[in-house]
Point group: C3
Chain length 675, copies 3
């Protein structure tokens, strides 16, 4: 029924455009300038509620009509937002419950954005009315190629409406209060509940600690789930209204990579297409950006929209360094290499006021087509226009999967202990980074995805482990899979209850071991991991103390503590596969050594290459696309093995095997026929 | 009338046990496992209010009955808690005033624990009803050897009920508003009160500053006293109920060492026996733990219960390192060496959920008797069972006393100035540490204790000095005592009014000097203290500028500031004793040098010994017990002078004089007949 | 009509005196002691509201009468405060709206000081009544030489009264909501307002971010202006009452140098004389103190009162180091060198309680005239008494002006971006420091002052630039002026709207360039500035990327980034003057090099001198006064060029040209007849 964005249209090149911030007299000039940059689309109406509905129930679409007419006249495709991400002042004044209550119990007033209480009936009703009016008026506009609902969903509310809806949500989940008491283990600290209406949201003035820790893990995890679901219900409310009128245009909302608040795997099921906003800082490793792209791709294992990025500099980071010449272009193609089918920015024209006025745009404050950034944008626009439609049908392929698990992300941060140094995303990235450095494609997957298609599945710090996931892992290894996990994995169930009888016991078949306890390493620790004499590298954060059943040690601890010489890293044959356990957190050298062992074990092909050069692949039915990217500011050389008829799509020149010189931030998109 | 815990029973080995968190089917196995570890007691019912009283006035003791029956059946002694340390959810819902209002004026909701407003009439009434029911039902149970009221009292509330009770408390203390105005010196910053009902609790949204400083020291000190008294009234409310029914079983609540909130010297008077929870971090010096034990002993100058410790690792510290093998045992005997007559842990069985689920226990998540920690626990249990009853009658003896003063602790932190680096507990410990390092026993005492029994009394940073205490000190020195104090001592009276006419003037007889002013040293300072050419060591925090009357200098400042060469440390003969003043804060080298001078002056016996080896003594009517403890992870040798018939109670082997080899964490309890 | 303070009286030497904190029996002794220190005045009644008005409408002046009688009897001049800076407890109890609501929306309770809501009708009414009573009773007292209204005004309130008055203030400023929407650019993030009553104060629970950034710069800037105006209205309310009764005595309130909250240039217009409180920390550079004095002088370009300083040590800083002997005296004369015509302290007698009890005073806790500090005070008092009346008529002269702009100060802190390292005051000081180090007098001026009298005008980080200011700058350069500005200057208009078409475009005539964009330097950056080979020095914070029209480069960037070799510092001839642009932030070495270039360009006379020696000048109609000050703790020598009849007023010795030896903290006030 629904067509995808990329079947019907050329590559979208555009971004957020807010002409309502500017005199109408300037709009035509904007259009002409943007056309010079080959911009073919605009995201509009993201924050216009106060303009669209000057008072309750009275709509004024005159400005939006003009904007849409302008874009249509200039043949711009439209990504149409719904304006519900920021509340009008009159609404907060009239219905104070539409804003959130914070973790200290303080109701927020009018201001900022992204602060509507998801469970406010007033907010829900008013959003529904607005979106109904918008859908009615614009749903059949042929220039609208995508609906963009609200904006960057996230955050929590702790108000009475949320409390009441939380109780209902819990009643649906657990049925009886007894079942809830059992699931949450509430006899701790006198938390036994006798009816659902005794339950209040866990926040810092109730059941959470100043450091973010939770009194009852199950309660806090459920509140995260509930809030994520509440926002998702807001999304679905709007989506359903639009879909009722418009059965074919894709609907999305913009995601934010490895953010913590929302379980994107659950959300992605409700989106027609994933889109996200990519804002690396000056010191973000290229591998981290790549991992975020792969995660966004992995939400549906399908291409996504790069909804936002800045062509020049952010403004909300501590040090908003300028992108180098070519870096915006490089980052755009890096996104594409990992599955992006659009290149969009925030924003087309730089605001002159508001808290984003120092955020770079294609049309900068200079208001000229002669700026460095405009010219680079125009180059990208021109190049994108020349790329073949077939590219948009191409997909990733990977033999390696890394599990990303929002439940574990939440539960680790709610846990009191074992160490303040444990950072979930950083530890997932530590594994990703190795494969990235070897140009080995990785799929980012959820615990619910199919493992069988991968030669190697990695579950870094998979703190929350359901029984059925454990069974699936054991089965995967037994039937030939290679599985890796590490310290703090498999510790608790979905409601934060520790799995008993030895840590890793649920994975004992696959791993061939269990752990009795773990030590915690202060920063001053000198504990090391010795890979059977080949390499000695620092151990970090925790050290599992392991009992090997069938597993064999790959490395042992080297320490002045009592567990000196005991196993730190292990391998275990189980059925026709292998299960690996890393009982601690390795530094980069350790990860390199471990990764090499895993590559060999899984029979993967790995290639050494110059630091910062990335080779990624996409595959259509007809072609292979190699994205060869120098992510650095220095020139690099790369020995590239070209097939017959290999062509660089950005130059239309044939590419031959051999040493390629890659200028700083150079990009080649090499198309070769599938064999 | 009341028997002490240790006259009637063997050494309690046990700890918190929460079977209500587990299926009943597992309880018998717990008992069998614990019996294998020679556990003979359990602390129960600490956090069960919500279970015991599912709705107001309706009690359900079925689960508690079962637990008590279980323990009785297995001959476990019971430390019986009252469950008032955490509120049921229904109570907070029904009576919001039962929770506290924080320093920003925000009422807390249901959650966590230790958060009942001590002055809530509803809380008081409901606690009274619950404890009455508990006492009625269980007071005559012969297995109950100790009552444990609430848990780890502490914290402050700033609600309207507290405000009203504070006014009453002040009226009782001062009689008239004029007397209060004079005591607090309220004409500062327009704080003159015209009636008691104008007074509000000092918090951060009234009279305290963000950094914890107080606008009016007297007001904030009195609020501390009032809150400490309010919680003590809660304790006494419960104690009186129990005592009405049970006239013989000792009653306690668990203390927390050098915590700040409660004046334990005042509290201890109301307890039959002191108990406390010992949670050193991985980097806590052994001397600091010893000081805490000595302080807990000193509250009543009597043996105490070691109510809680972890056998393996904490979970709420930044880095929850595992205890080494033998370290749990060593710490248990170190406690005993300083007066503990029980060895208890939190907890017997590790929770599988809640914010303490990663806190180590005797029965760990492995649920096995084969774990390292279980086996070490069993060893301790077996050893304790073999120790003689006479040991529990033994007491400490010391020639040195160090004053610990909660009023000074509070007042220093309320003071704006002189330096952010002044930490009361750390500075008390600096003095304690010297004597610890020389195996010289120290009594921790209050300003109200008798000084005359000591050869040396030290008052580190005794900021608050009452006239009567000053008189007592001067008298003590005059009649032969050796007294030491240091910078920032004797500055103010009980209501924070500075003593005029020269700092130290109240102690002028004893010290033979006064100070005109003090310099404050930034961290970059190079000011040093020169002990008459023998040693030069860093001065820290402040430097008193002294005028010597009869005192003589032991050390002078060495600085590029104008007070170069003036006295830094002094001695003064007064009557037949001596008064010493240290005008600054010394580093460890300086403390060693100073300590040696004091040892000589006071005619104490001091012995050099290997770092980390502790020799402590307890004395009964019949025996001397020497606790020789290697607190370190390395082997040590120690030259021990044994009397005749010296026997190591842990091996039942005779001990002879000579070089003893002490393995890591080795402990010897050497019994010798009193001569 | 009004006489100035210095025409009628000798130099005021005195300070805050609070006898109401002490028994009356001690007052006479205070007077006698102060007379020994040549103290001739006292500031009284600063915080006595609760004493003066024990209940609403009932006044009790008995204590104040006694204090005034005491001072009159001893011929002390009186600086008479109005007591409105701290609220009585009864008032807060009766009228809770008199206290402020903080940035989180929490109403403050009774306590501390400086916390009255400026827009509380109850506060306004009660203050008016009190001051009316005071004026009526004391206005004709001949010993009152100055009125001191309230104390150290500052801070913000976010209550409903403020919200309503803010709306009225905005209506007056903008007329229509449409005009406000345009000025604030409210179509961003759905902030369009449809009526004034939708507007709420921007705070952290509405429109400001946790880091202090603003959602709408115009809104937050206007709220700052409104709050500054509201407090100023409080001041004027009191002033008008006093002026109605007393037409001749000067009225002031004490300022606090480079504080952020109030636009002192606007305030100073309402004060008869500027007064301020000088509290350098142990590590405050002498140049920073000098800059503050020059700013206070610059508010009216007239001598000011040094209302407060401590003779010995502060108590509210992290490390409250003691002033060296002579340092209090040196700082007093440094103030005078920069325009102070009084020498006053906080306070004459040290409090024995309250949060300022550890703050040094002339009469210390020792309560003696024999203290070091008392004797130094007495020396100063004696010297001041000997200084000629003509000195008080003397004024500063400067060829260099530095613009200090509160709007820019506010707007930079409200901006999200470009770098967390940008500190407005520190960057103004970086320019001031150069001229200070060369003994070149600087006037601190506002953007509204006349530039034409200066050879060099510097506008460091003048973030906010109005069109008329830009025009004035261009005109100043065109007619021969030398103008310097730097990165982040001229960025926005008064409502935070970015000036378009190229950064610095409003100053393009003067500077001969525009900037396209800027890079932001993280702390790890290695970017440098190369002054055409003469000097290479670190670039900091940001680097403007410049397009030179008529400007020529004085320095270029040296970096591994793409803008290597492009201009960093430029000069431009325009008309008969020059405009300089520093596109980045220089370190001290860079500032020295730049400063030397500017001195040459502007034809200024500069002299190298020993570090820490300051030579400042004041000029009366008859005499030049040279203040030669060694601000350091080390001896210095200085080659001084004396005119004929040069006399050191502090020794009455003639001064001859040549090498003068200056002891630590030495001061010479050399009088020479004007030629």
């Amino acid at each position: 029924m629904k067509q995808t964005l990329w079947e019907a249209y050329p590559i979208l090149f555009g971004g957020d455009y807010n002409p309502e911030q500017w005199p109408e007299a300037t709009w035509e000039t904007d259009m002409e300038m943007l056309a010079q940059a080959h911009v073919n689309s605009a995201t509009i109406n993201v924050f216009s509620w106060a303009l669209l509905e000057p008072q309750e129930g009275t709509y004024d679409f005159s400005m939006l009509d003009k904007i849409i007419n302008l874009l249509q006249k200039h043949n711009f495709q439209i990504v149409m937002a719904t304006s519900t991400a920021a509340l009008p002042a009159w609404m907060v004044k009239q219905y104070p419950d539409v804003t959130r209550v914070d973790t200290h119990g303080i109701r927020q007033g009018f201001g900022k954005r992204h602060n509507a209480c998801p469970n406010s009936p007033n907010f829900q009703r008013l959003a529904q009315d607005l979106v109904t009016a918008i859908a009615k008026r614009y749903a059949h506009n042929s220039n609208i190629v995508c609906w963009h609902i609200s904006n960057e969903y996230g955050g929590q509310c702790y108000c009475d409406n949320c409390a009441q809806d939380f109780r209902n949500w819990l009643q649906k989940r657990y049925g009886t209060i007894a079942a809830l008491n059992q699931a949450w283990d509430t006899n701790i600290w006198s938390h036994t509940f006798h009816s659902f209406d005794e339950i209040v949201p866990p926040d810092q003035h109730t059941d959470e600690f100043e450091n973010g820790g939770a009194m009852l893990g199950g309660e806090s995890l459920d509140y995260r789930r509930f809030q994520s679901d509440s926002l998702l219900a807001n999304f679905k409310l709007e989506k359903d209204i639009i879909r009722a009128t418009d059965q074919k245009t894709p609907i999305t909302t913009n995601f934010m990579g490895t953010q913590k608040d929302l379980d994107y795997f659950k959300w992605a099921k409700e989106l027609d297409v994933v889109s996200w906003d990519n804002y690396p800082s000056f010191d973000t490793p290229a591998s981290f950006t790549a991992m975020n792209h792969d995660l966004m791709y992995g939400l549906k294992q399908a291409p996504f929209m790069l909804m936002e990025q800045t062509p020049s500099q952010q403004n909300w980071q501590p040090y908003n360094a300028l992108k180098d010449p070519g870096e915006f272009r490089m980052l755009s193609y890096q996104a594409m290499a990992h599955g992006a089918n659009t290149v969009q920015v925030f924003q087309l024209k730089q605001s002159r006021n508001g808290c984003e006025s120092l955020h770079g745009s294609i049309i900068s404050h200079v208001n000229s087509t002669e700026t460095r950034v405009f010219k680079e944008s125009a180059q990208i626009g021109q190049e994108l226009a020349g790329l073949p439609a077939d590219l948009l049908t191409s997909k990733k392929q990977a033999d390696v999967a890394i599990i990303f698990d929002w439940a574990s992300f939440w539960a680790i941060d709610f846990a009191l202990g074992p160490s303040v140094r444990l950072d979930y995303v950083q530890q997932v990235h530590a594994y990703y980074q190795y494969f990235y450095s070897k140009n080995i494609a990785v799929d980012m997957i959820s615990v619910d995805d199919d493992f069988s298609q991968y030669r190697l599945v990695i579950a870094p710090t998979l703190f929350v482990l359901r029984n059925e996931t454990a069974t699936k892992i054991n089965e995967y290894v037994h039937t030939g899979g290679n599985f890796v996990t590490n310290a703090m994995s498999g510790l608790v169930d979905e409601e934060d209850n520790v799995h008993l009888n030895g840590y890793f016991k649920l994975l004992q078949p696959a791993l061939g071991l269990w752990a009795e306890e773990w030590d915690v390493l202060p920063p001053v620790s000198t504990c090391e991991v010795n890979f059977n004499g080949h390499l000695t590298t620092k151990a970090n954060i925790v050290c599992d103390l392991l009992h090997l059943d069938t597993a064999t040690p790959l490395a042992t601890y080297q320490t002045d503590r009592f567990y000196n010489g005991t196993p730190a890293v292990t391998a275990n044959r189980y059925g026709t596969g292998q299960g690996f356990l890393v009982g601690t957190y390795l530094d980069e050298g350790g990860m390199q050594h471990l990764g090499d062992l895993l590559v060999t074990a899984a029979g993967l092909t790995s290639a050494d290459q110059p630091t910062g050069v990335e080779l990624s692949h996409r595959y259509s039915d007809k072609y292979q696309y190699d994205f060869l990217i120098n992510t650095t500011a220095q020139a690099r050389t790369y020995r590239y093995e070209a097939g017959a008829k290999a062509t660089d799509l950005l130059t239309n020149h044939p590419v031959k095997s051999g040493e390629l010189t890659l200028a700083p931030y150079a990009v080649k998109i090499i198309q070769q026929p599938m064999i």
